[in-house]
Assembly symmetry: C2
Homo-oligomer: 477 residues x 2
Amino acid sequence: MSSEPPPASTSTEELEADLSAATISKKQLNKEARKAAKAAKVEKAGKVEKSQAEEVDPFAANYGDVPVEEIQSKVISGRSWIGVGDLDEAAEGSSVLIRGSAQAFRPVSKKMAFVVLRQSMSTVQCVLVASADHGVSTQMVRFATSLSKESILDVEGIVSIPKEPLKATTQQVEIQVRKVYCINRAIPVLPINLEDAARSEAEFEKAEQTGEKWVRVLQDTRLNYRSIDLRTPANQAIFRIQFQVENKFREYLSSKDFIGIHSPKLISGSSEGGAAVFKLQYNGQPACLAQSPQLYKQMSICGGFGRVFEVGPVFRAENSNTHRHLCEFIGLDAEMEIKEHYFEVCDIIDGLFVAIFKHLNENCQKELETINRQYPFEPLKYLEKTLKLTYAEGIQMLKDAGTEIEPMGDLNTEAEKKLGRLVKEKYGTEFFILYRYPLAVRPFYTMPCYDDPAYSNSFDVFIRVAFWDLAHHPRHI
Amino acid sequence: MSSEPPPASTSTEELEADLSAATISKKQLNKEARKAAKAAKVEKAGKVEKSQAEEVDPFAANYGDVPVEEIQSKVISGRSWIGVGDLDEAAEGSSVLIRGSAQAFRPVSKKMAFVVLRQSMSTVQCVLVASADHGVSTQMVRFATSLSKESILDVEGIVSIPKEPLKATTQQVEIQVRKVYCINRAIPVLPINLEDAARSEAEFEKAEQTGEKWVRVLQDTRLNYRSIDLRTPANQAIFRIQFQVENKFREYLSSKDFIGIHSPKLISGSSEGGAAVFKLQYNGQPACLAQSPQLYKQMSICGGFGRVFEVGPVFRAENSNTHRHLCEFIGLDAEMEIKEHYFEVCDIIDGLFVAIFKHLNENCQKELETINRQYPFEPLKYLEKTLKLTYAEGIQMLKDAGTEIEPMGDLNTEAEKKLGRLVKEKYGTEFFILYRYPLAVRPFYTMPCYDDPAYSNSFDVFIRVAFWDLAHHPRHI
């Protein structure tokens, strides 16, 4: 074990940890302080032992802290690191180099210990067994287990397959460690313990029954230390799913001759009547943040682009605290010319969503399972060809189920949720399109139906309890 | 010719045209007024003639204005429109339906006329010849040529190959028109004539020599009527190239295990010291618009994402009028962990730019040629493996060429431009990386070189006279 202090470093972990002292709860601080004192005691004991042993450890080169100049772009060694998620049984017997965060330490004896290394959603068990044949000393075992959680380690070792399936790691192989180096030490006490942050509600409930007491990481702590909370497998998976949704959105629409655009966000007036707008000064002139790319998408269609989409931030200064209101979100917007009928738009929306659902099911199984472990959910039910109901049909379903609804009025959230449940029961889908809304409940620019001006060429898309509002904007080419 | 007024419509063209009267120049207005008077005269003449002929035209069903209810999503006919850009010699003899904007009318006689239809970057010549065999009357010829420019037309006809190559259209086939319907009439006089807006500087110079007088569409007119100016082939191509740059950026980085993120744009403080920031009120608290996704990209790396990119708006309240300053632009940002050496980042940047250059050359020839016609440019010179020069080597090249430069100071724009010229002459590339900058001219967080703290682990990327600033941010995993 090195007696050096952790190397001077600009790592964000350290900066955040400095901040943490000021804000984490007193109770937690006390607990952490006791832990730290214990760790210091262990370290001190180690130090004495080490100073005696150091001289005689012939394998001292196989472990230790990497000096700062080594991480200052000194050499290009040509070594290659394998991803933790790529470690599988095919690699059995081969020597690998991995870099990851130390998620857990399980010392077994002076001669043996386990270290769990994590990289994104994947974890692997590293086994240290003191053995002169393998260049592994008891000092090396002690060094590895004395490090703080979330420290960054380089581990070299041989891939082996354990006799029993591993429950605590995602990868079903182990690394028989030959070398271990610490690239960057985390401070001993972090404001969030990742194992705590990754537990599901069911695990907490089970623990309560058995009398076990686990720390809950609350939302404010998660947000205050976002870069640590982001490391939970579920968060890693959520961001990857978001990325894949955007990818498929772009890919599907591109295949239908849409082109991607980026419209201005700093504009001279509000984008939508009624909705609250963020105002600011632009070189001495009043300006607004765009509440929608609507106008610019329409100008693009008038400008001859035929079909456009945009993925970008949308700003709404709404003082509402519901799951349907956000002051800033990423909008996935599309606009297209219509040749004859607004069902051309419905068809694109239908194909787009179904393509995204399939893409996630086919390509993001690992991500979906990872999220499911912490936040259980049922797979979305959808049909190959999306169900389309008229507004009148929807009203009738609600009436038949005993809900009194004004047939030409708007659906409130409660009615929408109920309709969602009725549709799921009757048609076995949680994704459907409701069309031909009453004209009176849609924006002024909505095209009336040719056969009945009380109704309009418009539709909404429902997915579980949430829904998207997709107006039919009456333009042709 | 129909005596009906143009159908009531919410088309953006009309709304813009209404606005135009208030802002276009007096001179232009006078000119346009004369044109309009002439058009009205012609129309009146036509009307008289038509009222006599209408009764006896057995082919009246083959042309006319489409009534408004027809474009109100009345029917799904199952017809399919072919893209103008897809019309080629393989289609000879087949019957096609196309929809496009009427860009030019060339009446030849009472019995014959040409109409050029445009869709995005593509134009095609439609030929009308009065013939009872083909259901084309002289009235139909007159109807087609009496429409205003930029009206939206549906044309049905037979594809034929002309004897002489066509100079005025992109497509090398003609349409022998059988039916022509106007979906939406543009107002008679638009503030921008597209043929004027699409001319190159060279064409204007040539015209000046021959004494011809062409109208120049100036920048303010273009911006005031952006949705019309967007229709020029060059603008159509520029937006498509932008889209392809973003596509390749995403595709290349995704293939290198980057994931796309979207970071907040409404933040509580300025992103970068020094740079001017847009300020606003966020629910009673002061807030800023993000000048860079820098901090959030770094938090993502600390959060375990390994490699991330972001495509999104960047806001800088800079009161500078240079081609290097914009108050709002779309940033293509990337951030990655480094295993050993910041050259790992250089390699990604190198591969990324070369991949984009190749992608555009291989997939956007039509777009590049279209831009080149209006704004001539030389193809970019670049190497398969990007040239990397140290800052010291760059300084030496400038010195050898007689430019006195402070070796540890920053390069000004003039010096950068000169260096770009010298590198092009010596190495035959306009794309190169300059690295190992003096530490003193880089931001405080730049990592010093391990062997000389006067220099830093940083680099800039130069492409022609413009350049990108890509600091090496000293983090490892």
